[in-house]
């Protein structure tokens, strides 16, 4: 955990200084929501249940952008090799990068949630604890798979194309559970069992893919 924490702190310091990933991710996510708002909101009436889908589409697309750039930075100066040379289990490197992506996406969500709520007149903030849980679990699952794939593809020439091609099919369960769980929160009467079901699915996905990624990262990065 010490190494993961160090990598997270370093990534955040670099990001605060350059703003490269944060600005592009946030700009892209906000642009995405605005385009959907212009396209779908007619005479001030948003589509029913559209907010949940649009929130998650924006998070996923922005996440894809952040994932690619996070490892591109490590590739440019070959610093990924320096991290892999550290005398610690290599999965700690994965964990550090994963935490960095989750923090960045959480920052994007802090901006996106009120924006989507406002533009699509959605009651997104009616159940903040449930929403935070759904977003945290969904973001972690998406980032868990994405971080592993981004690391695997770091030396591939067509990594920018391959990342979404590999990432989206595998994270379909996260997208479905995230959208359905969030949509359940938007109903006038909160059905806790439904929200709990989708949240449990997301947590199960997280457990499986974080474990798998930690298990395979060493082999993936060594050869």
């Amino acid at each position: 955990m010490r190494l993961a924490w160090l990598i997270l702190r370093k990534d955040l310091t670099v990001e605060v200084r350059s703003g490269e990933i944060a600005y592009t991710t946030l700009f892209f996510a906000v642009a995405c929501v605005l385009i959907f708002a212009f396209a779908l909101v007619r005479e001030g009436k948003p589509p029913e249940d559209g907010a949940a889908g649009i929130l998650w589409i924006a998070v996923m697309l922005a996440g894809n952008l952040a994932l690619g750039r996070a490892f591109e930075r490590e590739r440019q100066a070959e610093t990924l090799r320096a991290l892999l040379l550290a005398p610690a289990p290599r999965p700690a490197v994965y964990l550090g990068k994963l935490l960095g992506i989750v923090v960045l996406l959480a920052a994007a969500e802090v901006l996106l949630v009120p924006l989507v709520a406002l533009l699509f007149q959605a009651r997104l903030l009616a159940h903040p604890i449930w929403l935070t849980a759904i977003l945290a679990a969904g973001t972690t699952g998406f980032a868990a798979v994405g971080t592993l794939f981004a690391a695997m593809l770091v030396r591939a020439r067509s990594r920018d194309v391959l990342l979404p091609v590999l990432l989206y099919p595998i994270t379909v369960p996260v997208i479905i559970a995230g959208v359905r769980g969030t949509a359940a929160l938007l109903q006038p009467e909160l059905e806790v069992d439904i929200v709990r079901f989708w949240l449990a699915l997301l947590i199960a996905f997280d457990a499986v893919f974080v474990t798998l990624s930690l298990w395979t990262f060493e082999a993936v990065m060594t050869d």
């Binding site: 370093k10 100066a77 070959e78 090799r81 991290l83 040379l85 005398p87 610690a88 060594t222 050869d223």
Partner: protein, 241 residues
């Protein structure tokens, strides 16, 4: 080799090591040994397998066949613990351009578990002669200055095995002299230094042993090598029609 059951890292032994990438043989059946207090040079043209060998020694790659021993320890055992004793200066410098020199060195010192990472970074910057530029971001440095920071990054945890890939590339005369002096200092401190270089003039007089590589194969080796340039020319052209 072992003292009271304790691991003593006094040499690195490469035994019949091959490394293939698909059908391409980057390194083929290479054998050599480097001991403490010795600077061993890996010499050869581009594509000879020098960088692959350094990656194998650094534990970044695993051999397809053969074995690498660090003292009595095999690569397959305690890889993480082993890496605490290896320092690598790559052709790329492994530095974050957005961070200051101090932040870079403190990060790597902490990564290697040094108790006072900031003090270690300060000392390393003084050794590099960059104490007054400690808080400047690395991207504002010249190539020579970055190389000095990178060398101190590689040595910040006082490794037993120091691996350097083309360390003289892009350095001016003053930086080159400083680097040669630092490498000689490492030899006196008892480190095992393995460096890959094209610069035969600099290697001459610096190396205690040399391994000549061509197309991934070891074509010659020498201890206390002299007349490197003519030896290089001879062994590299031998057998080539």
């Amino acid at each position: 080799m072992t003292a009271g059951g304790r691991w003593v890292f006094d040499r690195v032994t490469v035994e019949d090591v091959s490394r293939h990438f698909g059908r391409r043989r980057a390194v083929s059946r290479v054998t050599f040994q480097a001991s403490q207090g010795q600077i061993l040079g890996l010499l050869g043209p581009n594509g000879a397998g020098k960088s692959t060998l350094l990656s194998l020694l650094a534990t970044l790659l695993r051999p397809t066949s053969g074995a690498i021993r660090y003292g009595t320890l095999d690569l397959r055992h305690a890889e993480g613990a082993l890496r605490a004793h290896i320092g690598v200066l790559g052709h790329d410098l492994f530095l974050y351009p957005e961070l200051t020199a101090r932040e870079n060195l403190a990060f790597f010192a902490a990564l290697y578990g040094l108790r006072d990472a900031n003090a270690a970074a300060r000392a390393a910057l003084d050794r590099a002669g960059l104490g007054d530029r400690a808080d400047d971001i690395v991207s504002s440095f010249s190539r020579g200055m970055r190389q000095r920071v990178a060398l101190e990054r590689a040595l910040i945890h006082q490794p037993r095995l120091v691996l350097l890939d083309e360390p003289f590339t892009g350095l001016d005369d003053a930086s080159t002299v400083a680097l040669v002096k630092r490498l000689r200092g490492l030899r006196e401190e008892g480190a095992i230094v393995v460096l890959a270089t094209h610069d035969l003039d600099l290697a001459e007089g610096l190396l205690d042993a040399a391994v000549f590589l061509r197309d991934g194969r070891m074509v010659h080796s020498a201890t206390q090598p002299a007349a490197l340039r003519s030896t290089y020319r001879t062994v590299m052209t031998k057998g080539q029609a």
